[in-house]
Symmetry: C2
Subunit: 306 residues, 2 copies
Amino acid sequence: MDVLIVGSVALDTIDSPHGHVDRALGGSATYGAVAASHFATPGIVAVVGADFDAKHTRLLKNRGVDLTGLQIDTSGKTFHWSGYYEGDMNQAFTRSTDLNVFASFTPVIPTAYRHARVVVLGNIQPSLQLEVLRQVAQPKVVICDTMNFWINSRPEQLREVFRKVDVICINDAEACQFCGTHSLPAAAQNLLKLGPSRVIVKRGSHGVSMFSRDSFFALPAIPLLKFRDPTGAGDSFLGGLAGYLARSRVLNDNAYRRALAAGTVLASYCVEDFSCRRLIRITVADINARAALLREATRMPGLSIR
Amino acid sequence: MDVLIVGSVALDTIDSPHGHVDRALGGSATYGAVAASHFATPGIVAVVGADFDAKHTRLLKNRGVDLTGLQIDTSGKTFHWSGYYEGDMNQAFTRSTDLNVFASFTPVIPTAYRHARVVVLGNIQPSLQLEVLRQVAQPKVVICDTMNFWINSRPEQLREVFRKVDVICINDAEACQFCGTHSLPAAAQNLLKLGPSRVIVKRGSHGVSMFSRDSFFALPAIPLLKFRDPTGAGDSFLGGLAGYLARSRVLNDNAYRRALAAGTVLASYCVEDFSCRRLIRITVADINARAALLREATRMPGLSIR
């Protein structure tokens, strides 16, 4: 087990202008683990209810995802999100959120997971993210994700999390919100001062940027004519990133740049279909093809004026 | 004269969270020409009124801008825009727009400009953009800019312009609006079908993308801690791009990639101060420094999974 991913395993009911799914497999840990499984062996720490279908478990196991850490709480149902997208699908609208067994989720890290090389603290309550960190033994990289809900309701706990991780993964508006600034570069500098070595800023269809103390790197999103459902794009990005880092021997700036590309590629496949349908089916050749496309899309020839 | 730029020369009264200027030199042709002047000799086709101060004329001439095509209409005043920015400064709010002499502007191309290598059709009424094209002789590159106002009010004239240019420069929302789609890649494909060889999509603080029939290229904006006034950023980008193309012997994909970088660098300097204060002062070394920064920011190491 190389990558420990804590988060949600959910059932999603989704409408987009391109179709509909009912109680499809979703959740941040699911997307993250399926994406990571293309590069390393991920293990999930999450909870599902009595209604969680064995076909979902089979699907994850077949992708090489370790489920030792998946709790089954038979007292209730699996976390269910129902929502929809419109127009450019840049925003998710919620119809209903039934936390169900996820409401009382307490992460318990199996012994076999405690020495995971990479730990992904998915977008859950910051106090639970801290609880996970207490249970793991010296991971090489800890990455955390978060969202505006925790920035508003638990800013101090979140600050504590940011102090203890290596990489903060956050979207552009949330980074500015947390730091109380309108300037993203200023927000990134503030976040770096808390301790992490890297701040990765998700910009949705505009791509992703990475700030460290002495470098800045940016990748565009891959332009897609087939774009059906944005659910899980950020989680797939994070999973691809974490999985790639887990298989990297050296964790230098170049390794992180490659990992960002891996995450970008996985996210691009995620959104081409509902749930993790496409993410599960892609091959090494698919990944390499889009990584090559991304490299060509960023190839800037030298420019020197005299 | 290498680059013909048609557009506005204006006086701007601006408030941003970082300061205030009163009747400062502005306008799309001004920003474009000052940016282009770092790479080539630009000539302006525009109109000003009786109130246009000789110090502005001097400033432009000192930067090597040819003003043969600048009409002085003594019957009225210079185009005046008054507006302000708030918060992240992503949106300009207008207090007043006094078109003044610009309301009856008809571009007249001086004989000396008719063989300009590069023609920039700034963001003016599409019928005037077409009028310019009737007066020039086989330029190597014609680039047009536009805005939502013309997309709404003159879509058919604008379509005619798009059919006759080599490069469309447009922002992401406007490209989608013009094509009636929510998908930017679909919009870019539609625009390319009209005839241009390249569509350049401006994404504000997220950077810029370039679509051609067989390539896709993207650059991030340069992260700036000092960001005072976004006015003219898009025009400086366009001017930098056009100026760089004018000095390129071969107009292949790499030349366009470099030109996009040149435009991005010029835009980054533009926004660091009000009006064209910063844009006028920068040196070749300044430009090369940020071009190098941009190249490092886009350096993606190869990624091949087995």
